[in-house]
Amino acid sequence: MIRRRALLALGAVALLALAAPLLPPYPLTLVTQALVVAILAMSLDVLLGYTGLPSLGHAAYWGVGAYTVALLATERGVGLAGCAVAGVLLAGAVAAVFGLVAIRAAGTYFLMITLALGMVVWGLAFRWVSLTKGDNGISGVPRPELFASPLPFFYFALAAAGLAWTLLALLVASPFGLTLRGIRESESRMRSLGYNVWLHKYLAFVISGAVAGGGGVLWAYYNGFVSPTDVQLITSVEALLMVALGGPGTLAGSVVGAGVIVFLKNFVSLYTKRWLLILGAVYIGVILFAPRGIVGALRRRSVR
């Protein structure tokens, strides 16, 4: 089963890699954007879909990654490797601190606490003007020379998303990954079996935050510009929508959901201002006809 899915994913990556040079510039940047955002959605899926923790503040870790790059690459001239390591570690560190607060809560309370913590990061981005330049944001984030033009950057994003998918797919297929699904199904049973449930949730939270930070690093290079809009609530909500739309508990679903939302947001909005209406209709349709999301509906799970 895992092998078949890995082959499917490899096939999709190969197809994208081959098709990319044929794409006109605008669709190419959209596909690139979808890949970058897919990293955020996949990291969230580890919490929402696998562990059953609905985080509404995932833009925080994404934003920490993005701001780290923006600050290090513009003023201090730090290169890609340094920025990437710093962004991932810092996002993971922030998640490690926030997790201490958030993991104590469950369900709606978890949602509200992650929302509040996310707003803290947004508030810092907005108000700590001396560091973040506040509302103006930080512009002119230089792409590494090797990946400066769109096509090489697309391949870079493809490789990064592929790496994130591989790491997270290994994680959810591991014994630890099974414990996350067990926690989603019954925390009290996990406790009585002898699991330290808090520890497992906390580790998942920190890993998820670090991966989201990795996505944020890429986002800063992709956009060349980082501002408080990148860490605002709407970004967190969009990530949740991507996971719900594509299928929680299926990493591939997060990628599909990211693709659908990036496409609707950027492509459909060219033709109508009412793209949100179309997004709403798509979302309601998925909830009604495929409550397990697009990919979830394609996988039958009664007997494996």
Binding site: L171, S174, P175, L178, G182, S188, R189, R191, G194, H200
Partner: protein, 247 residues
């Protein structure tokens, strides 16, 4: 002298003004089969939750195999060899039977925290999970999602999960709850064939099952132990007959 498997001293649990468990002291010796009976609301399940660490005690001490675990979290108690089943079936409904059993098998192994190797590579865990499923008679349904199992099969899986961690003390909370007479007999056979080294404390309403399995019975009433003795003593105890059997 070996330590008692379980020793409770003056254990109490108050919910506001309600004394659900009111100063219970009891000892269960290693290898013993003990039934815990009592009318509805006697505090039996609450007592189990205190022993397993799902609820904090108001007063008293709990010792497992000589170790004071009064304030210890559930996973620490499980590591000492405690396992339990639930009165209301508590399984991983969205996972397959085999996945349920794998979770139970790996719970007390270091691999539970391993993150970068697929579970399918852990052949020893699979072998043990399959062996346990076979032992409780669920070998044929290991790929079925638990939500699709019959109630009887779910009760069997409850037992499988509790046995998977090789427990030394097993708490069974009404293992035959909701089972048909035929299923109850299967369950009683399953329990009768448990490894004699495992200490068992069971809540059971079906007196045939309880008295067939347990040599020693503790009777709980309004949170207090009102009788404690061999099954014949309990059968003939006038107070027990009055409140429990309504004679």
């Amino acid at each position: 002298m070996t330590d008692d498997a379980l020793r409770l001293d003056g254990v109490a649990k108050h919910f506001g003004g309600l004394r659900a468990v009111d100063g219970v002291s009891l000892t269960v010796r290693p290898g013993e089969r003990r039934a815990l009976i009592g009318p509805n609301g006697a505090g039996k399940t609450t007592l189990f939750n205190l022993v397993a660490g799902m609820l904090p005690v108001t007063q008293g001490t709990i010792r497992l195999f000589g170790a004071n675990v009064t304030g210890a979290p559930p996973h620490r108690r499980a590591a000492l060899g405690l396992a339990r089943t639930f009165q209301i079936t508590n399984l991983f409904l969205g996972l397959t039977v085999l996945e349920n059993c794998l979770l139970a098998v790996q719970a007390l192994t270091p691999s539970r925290l391993s993150m970068l190797r697929p579970l399918t590579g852990y052949h020893a865990l699979y072998a043990r999970a399959r062996a346990i499923l076979a032992a409780v008679g669920l070998a044929g349904v290991d790929g079925v999602v638990v939500a699709n199992l019959s109630h009887g099969e779910q009760r069997q899986l409850e037992i499988a999960l509790a046995l998977a961690g090789k427990p030394r003390l097993l708490l069974l909370d009404e293992p035959t709850a909701g089972l048909s007479p035929a299923e109850s007999r299967l369950m009683a056979d399953l329990l009768a064939n448990l490894d004699p080294a495992i200490t068992v404390l069971m809540i059971e309403h079906d007196m045939d099952v309880a008295l067939a399995l347990a040599s020693h019975v503790t009777v709980l009433h309004y949170g207090r132990v009102i009788a404690d003795g061999s099954r014949d003593q309990i059968r003939n105890d006038p107070q027990v007959r009055e409140i429990y059997l309504g004679v």
